[in-house]
C-alpha cells in the first residue's frame, strides 16, 4: 500500500459527522471540506472514507427517462416525476425496494405511498438478515447495545461474519480493541473467537478459530446446546469439529463474565437459514443460565436496521410488507421481492437507494429488465442500466440530514455537511412529490369512475 500524505489543503472541518456506509454508523467522523466538496475524512475506515470522498464518482446528476430507442435521455424534474407517478398509479403488483441507504424521513413518505397504491415495501433484509428477523420472531432477541459490549464483554464471538473486511471499525470501536469500564486493558482482557468455514482476516487475529463445515452450523450449535445440557456427545466429529473441541469451547463460553455473539450472512444464508439463527439465539438463552450472554446481527447498510424498526413500529412487520389487499400482510416466499420477481409477478419496480441490478440473482434481474423500473439513487450502477426513470437523490449524512438506526437499534441523526449538486433533490422531497402526484392521479380516477 503506497504512502498517502495527510490532507492539509482544506477550507474547514465539519466535526461529528456520521458515516453512511455500514451498520456501525460511526458518529465521530470529521470531514475536511474544500470548495464545497469533502476532500478528506478523519477517523473513518477506508470503506467509509472512500464512499464519502468519492461522492461525485459516476454521480447521477439529472433526471432521465428511457426513450423508444432504449437510451436514457435527460429530462426536467417535472417530466420525470410525472412519468414515475403515472407508472406507480397504473401498477397492479408494484414493489418499492431499497430504503436502507436513505433516511427514516424518506421512508415516512414511502410508506404512505405504498399504502395508497397497494405496493409491497421491502428492503435489503430480504437478501441479507431476513432469516435473522424470522428467527427473532420465533425465539426472541437477547440484544444489547454496542456500548455494553465495549465496557463489559470478555468474550466476543464472530460467526459467519468477517468484520475485518466488511465492518472495519466494529472491532476497533465497539467490541474487541477499545478499553472499556470493566475491560481496562482492551484487547488483552478479551477472548475473540471466530466461527467460520473460511480462515478469514478476522479468524487470523482471533484467539480461537472454529472452522466448521459449510452448512454445518445447525448441527454444530445443536451439539453445543447438548453439551450445555450435560450430554456426552456420541459422534466423534460433528460438522467437521472434534467433539473434545466442542466440549472445550462450551466450557470456555460458560466461564466468561459477559459474552457477545455477532453473526453475519455466513449464518443466515447456509442451508438451514433462519433455523441457524433460531438455534444460535437458543444457545445464547441456554448460556444465560450460567453467565451473561447477548447476540446481535452484523447489519450491512447504515440504515437497513432502520427500515426494519420503522416498518415493525408502523405496520407490525419488519420487511416484505404487502399492502395489496389494503392491509399489511407479511409472508416469506410470497411477499418478498426476490420471490415476486422470480415468479414474474411484479409489474412496476421502484428502487430507492439500492442496487438490485448488482445484487439480485439472475432470474430476478432478468424480470427487472422486462418491466418498468424507477430508480432513486445517487450513483450510476447496474440498476441504472435497467432503469426506465432515473431520479437523482442526495447523499444522506453528507449532503442531507436524516435519521438512521445503528445495528444495535440506537437511532442516530446524521447531519448535513455540504450542499448537494444543484440539479439533484433530497430523497425526502422526491418521495413527497411522488406521493402528491399519485394522490392527484388517484383522485382523478375516483372522480372519473363515479
Amino acid at each position: 500500500m503506497a504512502y498517502e500524505p495527510p490532507v492539509t489543503d482544506y477550507d474547514e472541518i465539519v466535526e461529528n459527522c456520521t458515516c453512511a456506509f455500514c451498520g456501525c454508523n460511526c458518529d465521530d467522523l470529521d470531514y475536511l471540506v474544500k470548495d464545497g466538496h469533502v476532500v478528506g475524512v478523519r477517523h473513518a475506515c477506508r470503506l467509509g472514507a472512500s464512499k464519502i470522498m468519492e461522492d461525485m464518482d459516476q454521480r447521477l446528476l439529472v433526471p432521465m427517462i428511457r426513450d423508444e430507442n432504449g437510451d436514457l435521455v435527460e429530462v426536467d424534474w417535472e417530466a420525470a416525476l410525472d412519468k414515475a407517478a403515472e407508472l406507480i398509479a397504473g401498477a397492479v403488483r408494484p414493489i418499492f425496494y431499497g430504503w436502507s441507504e436513505t433516511s427514516i424521513e424518506t421512508m415516512k413518505h414511502g410508506i404512505r405511498l405504498g399504502e395508497l397504491v397497494g405496493a409491497v415495501l421491502d428492503n435489503q433484509a430480504t437478501i441479507c438478515h431476513g432469516p435473522s428477523l424470522q428467527a427473532v420472531q420465533n425465539v426472541g432477541y437477547p440484544v444489547m447495545t454496542l456500548g455494553e459490549v465495549k465496557n463489559r464483554a470478555d468474550m466476543c464471538i464472530y460467526t459467519g461474519s468477517n468484520p475485518m473486511n466488511s465492518h472495519p471499525r466494529h472491532m476497533s470501536r465497539y467490541s474487541t480493541f477499545p478499553r472499556g469500564w470493566f475491560r481496562q486493558r482492551g484487547r488483552f482482557d478479551r477472548t475473540v473467537v471466530t466461527m467460520d468455514p473460511k480462515y478469514s482476516d478476522t479468524a487470523k487475529m482471533s484467539d480461537i478459530w472454529v472452522g466448521f463445515d459449510q452448512n454445518g452450523d445447525y448441527g454444530f450449535y445443536n451439539a453445543i446446546r447438548a453439551v450445555l445440557k450435560g450430554k456426552e456427545l456420541q459422534q466423534d466429529v460433528i460438522s467437521g469439529i472434534a467433539k473434545e473441541d466442542i466440549v472445550e469451547l462450551a466450557e470456555a463460553m460458560k466461564n466468561t463474565q459477559f459474552g457477545a455473539l455477532f453473526f453475519g450472512l455466513g449464518l443466515t444464508h447456509t442451508i438451514s437459514k433462519q433455523r441457524n439463527i433460531d438455534m444460535a439465539i437458543q444457545m445464547v438463552t441456554d448460556l444465560n443460565k450460567y453467565t451473561k450472554w447477548v447476540l446481535m446481527p452484523m447489519r450491512g447498510h447504515f440504515n437497513v436496521n432502520g427500515f426494519n424498526i420503522f416498518m415493525a413500529y408502523e405496520m407490525g412487520f419488519p420487511y416484505g410488507v404487502d399492502f395489496a389487499r389494503g392491509y399489511p400482510r407479511y409472508m416469506n416466499g410470497e411477499t418478498n421481492t426476490i420471490d415476486l420477481l422470480t415468479r414474474k409477478e411484479c409489474d412496476v419496480f421502484m428502487v430507492i437507494a439500492a442496487d438490485p441490478g448488482a445484487h439480485y440473482p439472475g432470474g430476478a434481474v432478468k424480470h427487472l429488465a422486462e418491466i418498468p423500473v424507477i430508480q432513486v439513487d445517487i450513483h450510476w450502477g447496474p440498476s441504472t442500466e435497467i432503469a426506465d426513470v432515473v431520479l437523482p437523490g442526495s447523499f444522506i449524512g453528507v449532503e442531507a440530514g436524516g435519521t438512521s438506526y445503528r445495528m444495535d437499534g440506537v437511532p442516530i441523526y446524521m447531519k448535513k455537511a455540504i450542499d448537494k449538486p444543484e440539479t439533484c433533490r433530497d430523497d425526502e422531497w422526491i418521495m413527497r412529490e411522488l406521493l402528491e402526484r399519485v394522490q392527484k392521479i388517484k383522485e382523478k380516477e375516483a372522480v372519473a369512475s363515479k
Binding site: 397497494g118 447438548a226 438451514s272 399492502f323 416469506n332 416466499g333
Partner: protein, 269 residues
C-alpha cells in the same frame, strides 16, 4: 349436491387469491354470482370470467354439499381452500402457495404439485397432494409456535424443507423423500416419511413422533439413543420391523420420538 367447475382459460402472471372462493362462502352462489365476482389480483380485482369458464350444477343447502373442481394449471392461484370447514375441492393441476392453509374440515385433492405453505396452520380436514410439495408444509405462521394442529396431509411425492414446522397435532404422511429439518419445533402430532431424509429431522422438537422408513443422512446430537424397538405402535398405528428409537431434542428437555428403520440405517447402530 352442487358441483362448481372452474376451467382455466387464461393464466394470470400475477397470482389470483381464492380465499373468498371456499365452499363456506359460495355454497348458495348461482352461476350469475360467479360471473359478477371480481377476484383479487395484486392490488386490484378483475372479473373471475377473465380467467375461468364457470359451470354450476345442482344445489346445496350447506358447504358440505359443495364440490369445487378446478381444472387447469393453478400455479398462479393462491389460497385454494384457505379456512374452509366443509365440502370438497379437487385441483386438476398444480396449486400455488397456501393450498389448504388454516382449513378446518372437508377435503382438498391436488392432482399435481403444491407450492410452499400447503396445509399451513391446518386445524382439521384432509389434504392430499398427488405430486410433490415444497417448503413449510403443515407449518405455523412466522413467529407462532403452534402450526398444524389437526387433520391429515398426505403427500405422494417429495416434501421440501421444514416439513411440519411447529407441528402441534395431526398427521403428515410423505410417501417420497424429505429435505432438512422435518418436524422442527414440533410439540405434538405424527410425521411418517417413507423415503430418504437428507439431514436433521426433529431439530428442537419437544414432543410428538417422527418415523422414517428410508435412509437418514445426518442425525442431530440433540437426539439421544433410547432403544431398538420391534414392531412399534405409534399414535395408534402399528409398524412392522425393527426401528432405532431416539428421544429429544435434549437441548429443550424434549420427549419427542424419532424412529429410524434399522435395516436402512445400519451405520447408526
Amino acid at each position: 349436491m352442487k358441483t362448481i367447475t372452474l376451467t382455466l382459460k387464461k393464466k394470470s402472471p400475477i397470482s389470483l387469491e381464492f380465499d373468498e372462493l371456499i365452499p363456506d362462502k359460495i355454497y348458495n352462489w348461482e352461476k350469475a354470482d360467479f360471473e359478477n365476482y371480481d377476484v383479487p389480483v395484486g392490488n386490484t380485482r378483475f372479473p373471475l370470467t377473465d380467467y375461468f369458464d364457470i359451470e354450476v350444477e345442482g344445489a346445496a343447502e350447506g358447504p358440505e354439499e359443495v364440490k369445487m373442481i378446478l381444472d387447469g394449471d393453478m400455479g398462479r392461484v393462491k389460497y385454494i381452500g384457505c379456512e374452509m370447514s366443509a365440502g370438497e375441492i379437487v385441483v386438476n393441476g398444480d396449486a400455488d402457495l397456501h393450498c389448504g392453509a388454516q382449513m378446518k374440515g372437508g377435503k382438498i385433492t391436488v392432482n399435481g404439485d403444491a407450492e410452499s405453505y400447503a396445509g399451513r396452520e391446518m386445524e382439521g380436514g384432509e389434504l392430499e397432494i398427488m405430486g410433490s410439495t415444497r417448503e413449510f408444509c403443515g407449518c405455523s405462521y412466522i413467529g407462532e409456535w403452534r402450526g398444524m394442529s389437526d387433520g391429515k396431509i398426505t403427500i405422494h411425492g417429495n416434501a421440501g424443507k421444514q416439513l411440519g414446522e411447529c407441528l402441534s397435532g395431526g398427521e403428515i404422511y410423505v410417501k417420497g423423500n424429505c429435505d432438512i429439518l422435518a418436524g422442527i419445533h414440533m410439540t405434538k402430532g405424527f410425521i411418517q416419511i417413507d423415503g430418504d431424509v437428507t439431514r436433521w429431522p426433529g431439530g428442537q422438537m419437544k414432543n410428538g413422533n417422527i418415523l422414517i422408513n428410508g435412509k437418514l443422512g445426518v442425525l442431530l446430537e440433540g437426539l439421544v439413543f433410547d432403544q431398538i424397538v420391534k414392531d412399534p405402535e405409534i399414535e395408534g398405528k402399528n409398524f412392522s420391523g425393527k426401528y432405532i428409537k431416539y428421544t429429544g431434542d435434549i437441548a429443550l428437555n424434549g420427549k419427542g420420538g424419532l424412529y429410524l428403520n434399522a435395516e436402512k440405517n445400519r451405520d447408526l447402530l
